[in-house]
Symmetry: C2
């Protein structure tokens, strides 16, 4: 057991090449040499460079909005917070308001940057900035969704029911939920 060794050298990347690619994904192979001399081949997803946003929108003091959206990975409908990729040239906050308008039909007069999370840094360079949205006003934008999303209000006093659901399991949503509750608690 130890203190954190901030001087530890990163592995050297001797070679990197794209070994598979689709419209959405690009898989890279890295030839790595760790500081102890161990050599390994690792695979990772080459990032698009585009960050993402997630929004926890409050319609009043004690209710936030969830969306119910088709998830191809699990071929199921999943509950979660509205989210999406940041468009080129867009700031994270502008993206958050745009996604909110596209997915739930509201804009926000107030957007608060809450936290930045990452999805499996072992394989991805995918950052997501989480915002709290308040003072909502009705405004819709047409997004690229194949069908309108169901929008579901949920009480912050009924978190246990939400966490027990089999369709509210995405780690980024669970993290956003708890970070929001912490933020509320700390006033």
């Amino acid at each position: 057991m130890s203190k954190i060794d901030n001087k530890k050298a990163l592995p050297q990347i001797h070679q990197r090449k794209v070994i598979a690619q689709s419209g959405l994904f690009k898989i890279e192979q890295l030839e790595l040499e760790f500081s102890n001399g161990e050599k390994r081949q690792f695979e990772r997803m080459a990032g698009s460079g585009r960050g993402a946003v997630m929004i926890v929108p409050f319609i009043n003091e004690h209710e936030f909005l969830l969306v119910r959206e088709y998830a191809a990975g699990t071929h199921s409908y999943q509950l979660g917070f509205p989210k999406g990729l940041i468009d080129p040239g867009e700031s994270a906050m502008v993206a958050a308001n745009r996604e909110l308008k596209e997915e739930v039909g509201y804009g926000a007069q107030e957007l608060i940057a809450l936290h930045t999370v990452s999805m499996a840094p072992a394989f991805f360079d995918a950052k997501m900035e989480i915002f709290i949205a308040k003072k909502l006003y009705a405004e819709s934008l047409v997004g690229d969704e194949p069908e309108p999303m169901e929008v579901i209000p949920w009480s912050i006093n009924d978190i246990d029911t939400l966490l027990a659901r089999e369709d509210f399991v995405e780690a980024r949503c669970i993290a956003a939920l708890f970070l929001t509750l912490k933020w509320i608690k700390e006033g």
Copy 2:
């Protein structure tokens, strides 16, 4: 805004094919038709079918252990809880104890199933079962890690410092941390 429509039909998958593949990843393309008639092409990662485990190991009442591990996706060292894939034929609990022995050099006399989370269901079918480990005893197993992991004890009374770190950002770790604090609080 609405109640959850549990009768909503899933999109039909008219066709699926593997369009790119590497040693670790397999990318599938789906031809989908939503219940409103909209047709779309989606990409997703075909799952390995193997689940994963994450372990929050307590060395005493108020300290848990973190590991510091190289993350290829971000080419950086990241702090997080020990984790790994479930081996074929292995139960999640057995996998949790094995990963604990491989990554931090302890076994656990007590493993408590805390929660199951998922990583981006839009693209993956990747479930991770989170365990709390207690009553640790020294026992090491050799894993496939290229270098020994740094093992860092952390106090449950110093969560804000951990959340503020740029190397503790993985959503699954943040979710595990908050779920653990909730579990402790509820006794």
